[in-house]
Assembly symmetry: C2
Homo-oligomer: 402 residues x 2
């Protein structure tokens, strides 16, 4: 990395200051492209699929429709559109990734709101001390900030579940496949007085083999990562215990008096189209979202692995081959994020990327090592191609400099 | 009310148990209609107006549109749809109820989410004790529960602003016109170390004379009560201080990673149609929402006052005649809620209504006297007509019993 300072000195322009601040600085020989933001998991790779679907998912809403706060009087979750509930049950049934019989469905403004609703529902309200909230590192970077944002007296972030040794009640978030590293996980604390909440945002066939239909007590999903409709802010929880579900509903009411009807109705239509299409494999219509997603991600992972192999600079996780009940073959995971480790002795991984004007999220944000960074694999083609191009340049420069 | 027990004894059926529990019980001679829910402020009276508008506000969203979390990179509120921002500024300009020049607009999932965002933004994060949150009774019934739901360590509900005598920092919610009683209000604490937040959900010409274009530091609005689109969950804050706005944005991101794009785009279209139509008075098209709303509410208030006058059982607030800058004439308020007081010595006002199967909200919920109840005036015609019919029956029965 001997060229770092020189490169940094020659390529800065006023507009690039932010991008290059603290950057690894290896920007010579790169096209003068702008910043590529792969920090967020913005699932825009799905846009091409939905374009191809044409008008199948077009929604039309007239000015006089859906004025009321209420969606149904037949459900304790009175703000849940019945069509969305039907589509959710239909989709899980078609994919076989989660049971829905006997579960109450609670809809939220993204699964972010449901995370907080779950904490509120599970935390005892009558205790002097807040309940501990843990997750095994590397954990989803939003858990600590969402848990602690208003310094709740009923729950508090208590860090990495691996290090949790207090003899106190706790709530453990189990993200599976895990964000950031794509690994299938189970709880690690496994003690009395604990609640386990499964965050299954990525438990869909494009990302990972579906090995069983899960039936945990509380399971969270989101349209953002299932179909790519992140802008709609629709998440749902499958909740076994009716009382827990009721408390979650109380939270969503206090927090936002329900959830956008427009988003619910649109996502209802989209999930139903996905459910209908997902039983057809290799169809010439190409209307199987999961097949599309898996093809795109598999190809991207192949290219990324090839690029990374050309150097000793980075390493990527490996995933086992497993039988996927959904598509019936042996497959490995193609996660939504690449959890990239820079080789030992290199500077912070996030900075290396910043040096080539790619924003990624430092391992530190996930309770892990800054030698790691999380890179979104769900961007548009041009973003992914830019990533590969710039990574190749880093490799070339660094190899030349060695 | 001598007939209460007899009536209760004769009219119960298994299906009516909930409605009659603790009820005043004066249900004889009433049509056997179901429960009328005027507890919530569900603004369904606007449906008829929007039906008349036909396709003017129809939105069409294709499956591939608005997948991203992001709406703009030109605004710190990156999840705010530019079209919604334009419509909000355009509408306030057309109505003249609030200044927008120099204000940052923060969009929220209803103004409920923005209330919490404001608390987070204003509360000092580095203090051992939470800041006091107050509002003058009768105050909006959601303030206490929304403030205290997760027992925040940075803010806590401290009750009626009239009784706040601590020499400590505070945040005062000023609801104007007030929910529940429709009165125009200002802050009551008026001490150093205080923040004032204006909740202006009802500061629109159908409810109250617009006497000036307000320019307070923080002003909250919601589509729910402006246009009737409560199901869309769109609120907005006009915020003078950019740093406060940034913290509010941080809260909305942590809480729900932004706000439904579908709702924003639909409300953008609706607000623009309202802004365009609201400069035409007495138009044969009848496309002025505020004129429509005022006509409906004025008529309903007239009928309600007439009904109430026929007895000594209830009293209603009186509102002064004021010059409305928006429509240029002398007018009085026609609030979204009737704040009804039962005559002294009567049982709890809420129970009197429950006795005729009308759900209303007890004065107690607003930090006030159970001799009062809040009754929504924004329901559909059949709900309002049912209210009048049943109130007339109560009056008749009680007068006969005297």
């Amino acid at each position: 990395m001997g060229g770092t300072d020189q490169a940094r000195g020659t390529t800065r322009s006023p507009n690039e200051t932010d991008a290059n601040d603290n950057g690894g600085g290896v920007t010579r020989n790169l096209p003068s492209d702008g910043l590529i933001n792969l920090d967020h998991g913005d699932p825009t790779m799905y846009e091409a699929f939905w374009r191809k679907m044409g008008d199948k998912c077009t929604v039309v809403i007239k000015g006089y429709e859906h004025l009321s706060y209420f969606s149904t009087n037949k459900n304790p979750c009175w703000f849940l559109e019945p069509k969305l509930e039907d589509s959710i049950r239909s989709l899980h049934g078609a994919v076989g990734n989660a049971e829905t019989d006997g579960y109450t469905i609670v809809v939220g403004t993204g699964s972010s709101q449901l995370l907080q609703a779950v904490l509120y529902a599970l935390a005892p309200q009558d205790q002097p001390d807040p309940i501990n909230v843990v997750s095994a590192a590397p954990f989803y970077s939003s858990y600590p900030e969402t848990t602690n944002i208003v310094r709740s007296g009923v729950y508090k972030w208590a860090g990495d579940a691996h290090g949790f040794d207090k003899d106190e009640p706790y709530i453990e978030f189990v993200t599976s496949p895990n964000n950031p590293n794509g690994v299938i996980r189970g709880p690690v604390v496994n003690r009395d007085g604990g609640f386990v909440v499964y965050d299954l945002a990525y438990y869909w066939p494009q990302y990972t083999p579906i090995t069983s239909s899960l039936d945990f007590d509380i399971m969270l999903f989101t349209a953002s990562k299932c179909t790519g409709h992140a802008g709609s802010r629709i998440g749902w929880a499958l909740v076994k215990d009716k009382e827990v579900a009721k408390k979650m509903i109380t939270f969503v009411v206090a927090s936002s008096i329900g959830v956008s009807k427009e988003s619910q109705l649109r996502v209802a239509k989209i999930l139903q189209v996905v459910a209908d299409g997902c039983k057809r494999f290799g169809s010439s219509d190409g209307d199987n979202l999961f097949e599309y997603g898996r093809n795109v991600l598999a190809k991207r992972w192949e290219i990324l692995r090839e690029t990374v192999k050309n150097t000793q600079m980075f390493t990527l996780p490996k995933y086992p081959l497993q039988h996927c009940n959904y598509n019936g073959d042996l497959t490995q995971a193609h996660p939504a994020f690449a959890w990239i480790k820079c080789k030992d002795g290199m500077e912070e991984c996030e900075k290396v990327f910043k040096g080539v004007k790619i924003l990624v999220r430092s391992g530190r944000r996930f309770g892990s090592d800054p030698g790691y960074a999380r890179v979104s694999m769900m961007g548009k083609d041009e973003e992914f191609n830019g990533l590969i191009e710039r990574l190749s340049s880093v490799i070339q420069i660094c190899n030349n400099d060695d």
